[in-house]
Amino acid sequence: MSSAPARSRAPRSRVPQSGRARSQFTLLLGVWAVVVTCAVLAGLAASLATVGYDHALSAGVTTLENSDEAPDVTSVNVAMQDGEDAVAVPANEAVATTTRALEDAAHGYKTDVSIWAATPMLFVVGDVLRNSYLLDADSAQDHARLVDGRWPAAGTPGGATPVEVALPVSAAQALDVKPGDRLQLGTTPRLTEGGPAPLDVVIVGAFTPTDVTAWERDPLHGAGLNSPTDRVRAYGPMLVAPGTLTESTMPIGRLSAISNPHLDGNFAAIPAMTRDTQGLKDTIGDGLGASVKWVVVRSELPRTFGDIVTHLRLAIALAVSVLVLTIAVGLLAVSLVAGLMTRRRGLETEVLRERGASAWQLSARATVESAVIVVTAVLVATPVAVFAYRAMAASGVFGAQWSAVPSQPLTGPDVTAALVAALVTAVVCAGILVVAALRPTSRRNRAQRTRGAVFARSGADVMLALIAVVGVIQLRQHTPVPGTTDPILVTVPALCVLAAAALVARALPAVARGAERITRRSKGVAVPLAGWHVARGGAMRGGVLAVAATATATLGLIFVGTWTNSQTAQADAATGTDIAVHQAGSPADAAAMAAAAKGTLSPVFERKVVLGTRPDGLTLFAIDTDAARHVVTGRETQTPQWRSAAKALESAAPAEANAPGQAITVQQYPITLTVSGSMVPVTPGAAIPPVQLLATPTASVTTASGAVVLLTGAPVPLDGKPHTTVLAPDGDSRVVTGETRVDAIDFSMHQIAIGDIFQVSTERAAAAVSVTVEGAQGSVGTWASHGDEGAAQMRPVSADGAGTGVDAEFTYSIFGISTVGSHLTLGAFPAVEAVPVVLSQDVADELGLAIGDNIDLTVDYTTVTATVAGTVPYVPGFVHQGALWADRDTLYRTLLTGGRMGEVTDAWWGSGLASDAAEKLRAAGFAPVTSRAEQSVALQEDATQVPLRLAWWLAIAVALLLAVVGAIAHASAEAQQRGLTIARIRAIGVSRRTAYASHMAQHTLVTVSSIGAGFVIGLALAFVISPTLVVAQNGSRPVPPAELVVPWGALAAAIGLVLVIAVGVGIPAARAVVRRSTVAALRAGDVA
């Protein structure tokens, strides 16, 4: 055939464009469908990044607002100066100033401001030194139960009628008052001539606080009275009707204001609100003037909102990255299908070239066709993307948090974003189609191109792989910075998948050639022909898409499994146990909790303590080491490091309560003490000063449930005679039943002069005291003893066990004790000088501490020595914060050894409880209650993570679909390519059945090896990078670190299904190519 002369214009095609389109309808439809898929994905990515971002942020804000911890509220606590020179601030002014400041800071959000205002401590006029105060609390009645009488009516302080008040039952009992009784409150203990008039109050009711958290705003925290070890007993509050104090001009002592903005999911003004909140301290301080002692403003909103934004930005970035990866796989599909089209039209293109068509003219033809595909694809993809996103968002599959926020109406910018993304992607696809259309298809040019392509590939894919390796190394060593969108997290996954697919595309043919050696020796025609074609015919090229798509789907399924498991593990670590009730409660409460939860809960100490010079407090967590084995849950507790630390604490813990010589226990209630004592010479032969001591005993006992209770008796004189005193509990609802262990007895000593003490020759005196616990069992040999080293300089001399009691001697300063009294604390156990603690690793690293080091902790103003017994990566329940873990009993005894009598229960932890334990506990009035199961669900359904979950599920679905598309494209390409070969082997006598078997064998081999390779790559990538892609809510590494979880069942089902479909799509193509007329194929092949 002679070549035609070159022409400047392309010849007119004899086949009209529309005719070409009709004859290649199926192929064009396939191309169009893949372009639409890529464009829809891009539109979805845009929707996620715009509408999805707003929805997730709104949902996050709504969840924040509805959470028990109420991080959106701003609490302001103000204390006014006290003392004689302090300028009183009227209550109404203080409340108005504070309320105005809070409302202004709310920046337009409707806000509820709750005020609890208390007067300064006033004296209850009478002979005994007692303090009390008025409390005007607008929400107190919502958190209390009326036990007697009625709630007070509004009144006017200083008016004609007494102000009506209600008292906590514990305070009423301690003051021995009942409804109808009257008291006077004044600035001095006794009325003085010409002094300020007292305030008359009448008790009208008694109540029990029901929500400990709410009563934190009360100066006495709802206890009704202060500790018996405090200098002056205080009782209260005297609750007045709302407005009685806050609208009066009475001076204010303490003010607690809580501002609760109604966010309603509207996040727009939150940044401005958080800025203004940070300036509240100065605003209120300036408003109230120099009378302010301190102002403390607390708001978790800046941090929590910041965390939400950070987490969401990261999730969106990751989601977009995942979708970009999927789009990249989609572009591979476009490339594959474009190649198919090029081969189909190869003859036509070569004829046009030979007749003088230029590259520009050919590209113009391809561009027109591609433009039609782009326009129609975008017209379909944009609404599909927009409405698919909205349908998924409204479907409810993403959990309650996401569904709590209704979808916003569609806006122009939303549609524009999707349109632009779809258009850009479709144009890129079009570019691929145009480039593919211009590829030479003649044998000579194909050979040259192949050599060129190999050369280019050998550089590009290796370079890509090297970059991916560097990326993986960076990713594994990298620590995400909270508050930032980490580019490494975002780019590495896509890089890895594409690099791996490119390398496998190079490796698979080599593997195929290895397989060829096996097929060559086999008999028959079908298998060897298939093997030869796969090894030498370039069939594996068609597997690249299946490799990349399957790798993406595998990585996605494993990531979802890993991520889900990590949320559960993080919930385990964050809660530390199955159920935690964060209130101290009483022994009666402990019994009620156990009944509601259908199981036992263990008391837990969890409190901020001060460690040395470390500026921020640490949390000291203490639980009985026996209970810890069953109650503290989480992956960390199964590690050798944890077991070693637990063993160290166990070995130092006190022996069982009933071990001989270890404790004194009582079975009967109330507990009675027999106390006797007298003054003794300081030194042998020295004169005894003319004084007598009055001792008020308080016993610290541990009940059967593990709760610690303080029981106080009446004062007894140390006059040499024995006196019995019955110990009664402080508070109203404390019931002591069952076996009770007496842990310590504290004597509040006051001195009474019975002569002229200024005539004594020494300033120190000595005394002896003996105390026996009546009806007790057990004994303790040596008792711990502690004296108050304040003004009285109380110093124990000896404390020896005497049956179920103790004989102690001590000295003190005669003149120091006179004014304030002092304390002698005797612990019914050998002194514990230091409490072993296990540190969280961050604390140990920060302070350079090692096992055996001693540290000083300040616990409730008491300094305690602690010895480092071990370190753990984190203390369950206290992740993301420095924490120490100790045995509760040991800590308790260490505190008692240091003279600190007080509650050591802050919460109750339990595991293995009923599944509805949390709800039952809340219904019983206990709050707040945290549940590991609920926390796990909350993390999994976290609205800020929905974009990421959505993106991965889309990626998995589309990738699986593209794997099938790859198989279809491969089957179609092979049907085209092998048509002539099939005809030729048919001509030499190969049966249709054998030809069909050969074609299916090569299709199955390519499909199975490609999908298999993709699965292996996805699995390997998941091992390498999947856990590092999981981040915590604040954007940092999760605690504990994410562990790889491979959902074998889901993987087997998904990959298996794709395999079956992908192999199955080869059947019709094989049938078609085998059934095609041999004669016609031979004739067409001879022409080519």
């Binding site: 044998r443 050979a447 060559r520 020796r521 008999k523 028959g524 025609v525 060897p528 022909l529 030869w532 074609h533 090894a535 030498r536 015919g537 070969t981 030729r984 082997i985 048919r986 001509a987 030499i988 006598g989 190969v990 049966s991 249709r992 041999t1078 004669v1079 031979l1082 004739r1083 092949g1085 001879d1086």
Partner: protein, 225 residues
């Protein structure tokens, strides 16, 4: 002489209606055993269609075709496959080689169909390549050979199975004159040496001269037998 090929009143039409093409119109002729017959005609005369029918690649619309006494008309696809496998061998104008296979592998293909062991197969393939003068070219692929070499490989493949009838459709159509002559001489020599019957479509005067007789076909009719 017993006829190897008997064609009786064979007709073959492609398409329907006014676009129907009557490729063969009532063709009848015979080819005796051991004959080398040249089928002569212009392009579009029906040569290839007739050869395809004789070679069991196509079916006539009417008439009878007997090859070595076996009636082909009415046979199933499987039976026709057997004919092509055991009795007939084709040589095509476009060589018909499998591009991914080497020369030896191409030659060995028909032997695989007969279940020959790999050692016997490789030995026979080597022998065939020797026969056609391509000793040492067994590992070469089609895209590494000249047209003449490829056609020799095709001949070797056709002879590998010891067919009784060799059908060649313009075997020199894509070759230059000198190569074509060599190929035709090879076919002639093989036919004589192996005692097989051959029918070769050609419009090459040299081949026509080498044949025992020529059968001319024009416009679907035999005009000279």
């Amino acid at each position: 002489m017993t006829a190897m090929i008997e064609v009786r009143n064979v007709q073959r039409t492609y398409g329907e209606g006014h676009t129907a093409v009557h490729a063969l119109k009532d063709i009848s002729f015979e080819v005796g055993k051991g004959e080398l017959v040249a089928l002569v005609g212009r392009s579009g005369s029906g040569k290839t269609t007739l050869l395809n029918i004789i070679g069991a690649l196509d079916r006539p619309d009417a008439g009878q075709v007997l090859v070595d006494g076996v009636e082909l008309v009415g046979r199933s696809d499987v039976e026709l496959d057997a004919v092509r496998r055991d009795t007939v061998a084709f040589i095509f104008q476009g060589f018909g080689l499998i591009p991914e296979l080497s020369a030896a592998e191409n030659v060995g293909l028909p032997l695989r169909l007969r279940g020959m062991s790999s050692e016997d197969r490789e030995h026979r393939a080597e022998l065939m390549l020797q026969l056609v003068g391509l000793e040492g070219h067994g590992e070469h692929r089609p895209d590494e050979m000249s047209g003449g070499q490829m056609q020799r490989v095709a001949i070797a493949r056709a002879l590998a199975g010891s067919p009784r009838l060799l059908i060649a459709d313009e075997p020199t159509g894509q070759l230059d004159t000198e190569t074509g002559l060599a190929v035709m001489a090879l076919i002639r020599g093989v036919v004589e040496a192996e005692g097989m019957t051959a029918i070769v479509s050609t419009h090459d005067p040299v081949m026509i001269a080498l044949a025992d007789r020529a059968v001319r076909i024009a416009d679907g009719h035999l005009i000279d037998v």
